[in-house]
């Protein structure tokens, strides 16, 4: 019996010929990420234990993304503490807000090619799954787990069973990977892939660009998955070639064993919306069209990448927003590319405001939190009670195309009606 790509990566990381789902293994970790929420407590644990070095500073990177720019003194002091500890442990891959490149960790990971296909990547953030889109094993953990890895360079993992999603055909022009993800989570439920790997393949996935694949893997967290993964192909190879990074592609065996297989016709997927209070509470946008909206948010690791902004701009070009609309490019590099392509001008002319790269509003931290009763249509990944502000505010999760269309009409809107041509 063969192995899935997830099993192969974990076998290599544990110096084994073969691993089986359900086994607990000791796995070497290739890359580790911390940010301003997971970083200070993780590094402080090491300092308090008297640990004076991390396993390999070159395999660890740090970004400031959650409470940036700092909304209060406490947040500013956390950044000072993170900086102090990072210097102490020699972490030089450090991306600071306001000093060149920085941003939302998962988008930054891709922009800077910080993780390579086939690697084991553990991040101090639940949406670390995102990097599975380039063919790495990527999973999120809490700060104590991260502290252990920073010290030792390995962790314990239960080898996950893999659920396979075979996506045939191609998504239609007004449908994005986010819609496919919401459709799948709606089908399997918010714990439908708990502790499991979700692997995506087929023509519908091959035709997606890498950013869309990242979105698909990003949302696997919302089904409870340990990781989401897509085998590297020509598009992956091309991307890493441009970055001068070599890798040995790993693929699932023909006879790999899957816990379950789903077949999806991409062309049948419609623009989807996940209504409060679960990402699994999804249905076609057409069923709730016309819902009154107070806010539109386009940003985050899920919906603030360059491709996301390009799609939003297609809909918003020449129009005017009817409701408060915030757009947050996920990294400094994405911001700059969006500026050079004229996207920022389109957004600003439409009346939206452009935020600096930050996770702020997505998790209800700062920079546009919702008040009681407010309804927000958002390109982010969670709509739990209070996720973006008051516990009685409401978040509707959609694709960047649907969010942009809803900004223009002031109501939840299927983007098909507003796309040019």
């Amino acid at each position: 019996m063969g192995m899935t790509i997830t099993e192969k990566i974990l076998a290599r990381a544990s110096n084994r010929e073969k691993v089986d789902p359900g086994e607990i293994i000791i796995a070497r970790v290739d890359k580790v990420m911390i940010h301003d929420v997971s970083g200070p407590p993780a590094l402080k644990i090491l300092e308090d234990l008297g640990v004076d070095r991390v396993f390999d500073p070159n395999r660890i990177w740090v970004t400031e993304d959650h409470f940036v720019p700092p909304p209060d003194t406490k947040s500013a002091e956390n950044l000072i503490e993170l900086r102090r500890l990072a210097e102490k442990y020699g972490l030089r891959k450090y991306y600071r807000w306001g000093v060149g490149q920085y941003g939302v960790c998962h988008a930054l990971c891709f922009e800077e090619a910080l993780v390579t296909p086939g690697e084991v990547f553990i991040g101090g953030d639940s949406h670390t799954n995102t990097a599975g889109g380039i063919g790495s094993f990527a999973a999120g953990m809490g700060h104590t787990d991260i502290a252990f890895i920073l010290k030792n360079g390995w962790t314990w993992l239960r080898v996950p069973e893999t659920i396979l999603f075979e996506v045939a055909g191609e998504l239609r022009e007004h449908v994005m990977a986010k819609d496919l993800a919401l459709h799948i989570i709606g089908e399997i439920g918010a714990s439908g892939a708990n502790y499991k790997a979700m692997e995506f393949r087929g023509e519908g996935v091959k035709r997606m660009n890498l950013e869309e694949r990242l979105t698909l893997c990003n949302m696997t967290t919302e089904a409870g998955a340990k990781n989401g993964i897509i085998e590297p192909d020509e598009k992956t190879a091309q991307y890493f070639k441009e970055k001068n990074i070599e890798f040995k592609p790993i693929h699932s065996d023909e006879d790999a064993e899957y816990l379950e297989k789903f077949h999806i016709e991409a062309s049948k997927i419609e623009p989807m919306v996940a209504k409060p209070i679960s990402p699994a509470n999804s249905s076609p946008v057409s069923e709730d069209e016309g819902l009154e909206v107070d806010r539109v948010y386009i940003g985050s690791c899920t919906g603030g990448k360059l491709f996301d902004l390009r799609m939003a701009a297609r809909v918003m070009k020449g129009g005017k927003v009817k409701v408060r609309t915030e757009i947050a490019p996920a990294t400094q590099s994405i911001y700059l590319k969006a500026l050079n392509e004229g996207l920022i001008k389109i957004f600003a002319e439409a009346g939206a405001i452009i935020l600096p790269p930050t996770c702020g509003a997505c998790f209800g931290g700062h920079m546009g939190v919702l008040g009681e009763g407010e309804v927000c249509v958002s390109t982010t990944n969670r709509n739990f009670p209070g996720r973006m502000g008051h516990r009685n505010s409401k978040v509707y999760l959609v694709s960047p195309l649907t969010a942009a269309a809803s900004a223009i009409t002031g109501k939840l809107t299927d983007p098909k009606e507003l796309l040019p041509g």
């Binding site: 101090g124 953990m141 104590t144 998790f363």
Partner: protein, 165 residues
């Protein structure tokens, strides 16, 4: 292995980490501060209702969402020591054990349905039995994986010395 005794605070399915500790408190790392906001997203009165040693009893997928370790930290600091749930989200499960905050124990539908909010309960880890002292019900729990007990009893993963593997 020890005995836990306390009141049961009962919740439903998919209690997520945003409800357990809202995102705006993530800049806070002091457990005492976090405890003041434990379960704020579902019951702002929760911290005042809990005494040290109390249990949470929940449905499916407890702790889904963010990797924030603030969630088990806040529950521990509020007084909770054991969470009984039909199932757990994976990062919350790991965090609870690796930081030695909470013991997450899976229960079946029968146990979940038999115990009411506010009941007094007693858990004996050596026998893996749970007694509802209010109703008189007695239940046998599923065995906890050995590695989980090892790490938890060591006081967390950083103090844990792996025996095998």
């Amino acid at each position: 292995m020890k005995v836990f005794r306390g009141r049961v605070h009962k919740f439903g399915d998919n209690i997520d980490t945003d409800v357990i500790i809202p995102g705006k408190y993530l800049k806070e790392f002091d457990p005492k501060e976090l405890a003041k906001h434990a379960m704020e997203g579902i019951d702002p009165e929760f911290p005042r209702k809990v005494k040290v040693g109390d249990f949470i009893l929940a449905g499916e997928n407890f702790g889904c969402g963010s990797s924030r370790e603030h969630a088990p930290m806040a529950l521990h600091a509020a007084g909770i020591r054991v969470v009984l749930a039909k199932s757990f989200a994976r990062i919350f499960y790991r965090n609870s054990i690796n930081g030695a905050y909470l013991l997450p124990i899976e229960v079946n539908d029968n146990i979940y349905n038999s115990i009411s909010d506010g009941d007094e309960a007693e858990l004996d880890l050596s026998k893996m039995t749970l007694r509802d002292l209010t109703s008189g019900g007695e239940f046998t729990l599923k065995k906890i994986p050995e590695i989980v007990i090892e790490i938890f009893e060591a006081g967390g993963i950083l103090r844990w010395k792996p025996k095998k593997l």
